[in-house]
């Protein structure tokens, strides 16, 4: 069979290969933490501009990544806020990590909702990058030793919070 590869296909092949190679994407090395590994030393800011780092001091932490423009986040935050006091008595701190917004925008929404949980501001998406999540809300469960136990993408239910609270505090029980 006399098959001839056409010149046009050769041009397409060469241009296409050039494009594929030119646009290859090697992700910038970032610390992506999976459940079972320690949360890296990320830095967030508070409403007053001071720098904070999620350190456990023996207490577990639930980091809720949210934004006020995100409807699932707006639905989730009251649920989290309602359970936060009981979680605190079990040695678990709940912190709201706002992604990309100004303190004025975030605090306006929280004031309307009468939510008084501590808020950290993550302007550069460091937490989302660290846990490789593109979803809002995302909840990161960190145990008392600073190890991530679960990265939950999407709105958490009270059942998930309760179940994870038990998991987070198992090692801390006498």
């Amino acid at each position: 069979m006399n098959y001839q590869f056409h010149w046009m296909s050769l041009v397409v092949l060469l241009l296409g290969l050039g494009w594929v190679v030119a646009t290859r994407h090697v992700a910038t090395p970032t610390i992506v933490v999976a459940p079972g590994f320690p949360l890296p030393a990320l830095e967030f800011t508070t409403a007053t501009g001071s720098i904070v780092t999620p350190t456990s001091h023996g207490r577990a932490q639930i980091l809720t990544l949210w934004a006020s423009w995100c409807p699932p986040c707006r639905a989730e935050l009251p649920v989290v806020a309602a359970l936060a006091p009981s979680l605190a008595t079990r040695g678990i701190d709940v912190v709201l990590v706002n992604q990309g917004e100004s303190p004025a925008d975030a605090q306006g929404f929280l004031a309307d909702q009468h939510i008084t949980l501590p808020v950290w501001y993550d302007r550069n998406g460091a937490l989302a990058t660290a846990v490789a999540s593109r979803d809002l809300p995302t909840t990161v469960f960190v145990d008392g030793t600073g190890v991530v136990r679960l990265v939950y993408r999407g709105p958490v239910s009270p059942e998930v919070l309760t179940t994870m609270a038990t998991t987070l505090t198992m090692g801390a029980q006498p």
């Binding site: 046009m8 296409g16 594929v20 290859r24 990309g100 998406g125 593109r134 993408r153 999407g154």
Partner: protein, 238 residues
Amino acid sequence: MMPLITLGPLRLSSYGICIVLAMGLWWWWSARRIPSTANIDSDGVLFVMVIGAWLGGRAGYVLGAEAIWVQLANLRALEFSWPGALIGAASALALYHWRRPVAIASLLDALTLPTLCAQAIGAVGLWLAGAAVGVPWDGAWAVAQAGAWRHPVQLYEAGIALLAVIWCLLAPRILPTIPARWWLLGGIALNWLMSEGFRADAFTLTGGIRVIQCVGLCLLIVVSERVMMTVRLRGSST
């Protein structure tokens, strides 16, 4: 960026709405474009293809997602994989053809414009939902997404699909001997090759080469060969 559209008590995923809209338009338009002379049970075959596209689109996303169990349980997340949908629809068509043979060439010719338009609508939905992440970039039309300024890769996909639509409308006058189905395949291939080149969350091989771009390039070569062969055959016969 609007992850959800709130309509009174209803909170609807903007991406999900666009997918449903795209599939509805695709079905309605395709049914009208399938020639009656082709003797095709249009409703039957289109229904099977929509089911295949839906299952393939969901399976493609879930299989590619990192936390599979979370995504399976997350019924509100209408994430959807376009390559998965195409493979699902093609598989469903093959299955249908095996049971009840249809004139596949005529069918695909009829589906060309609706499919490319559906892809454009779905891509706009991706953009509205803030899904699909472009590579970081701070140029004039960069969008803020996932904590950085990025290429609006979803709009690139929609734009290339619409350019393919325009080409499909012009092609019968310029290259009348090439069946529309090859432009459909070419449009899809070009999109995978070009727009995916700006995507940060694509599955990559060693060295950062994206798998979907390689698939697109292979398809484009096939289309190029087919077009050139047809043009040459027609040229030699006249």
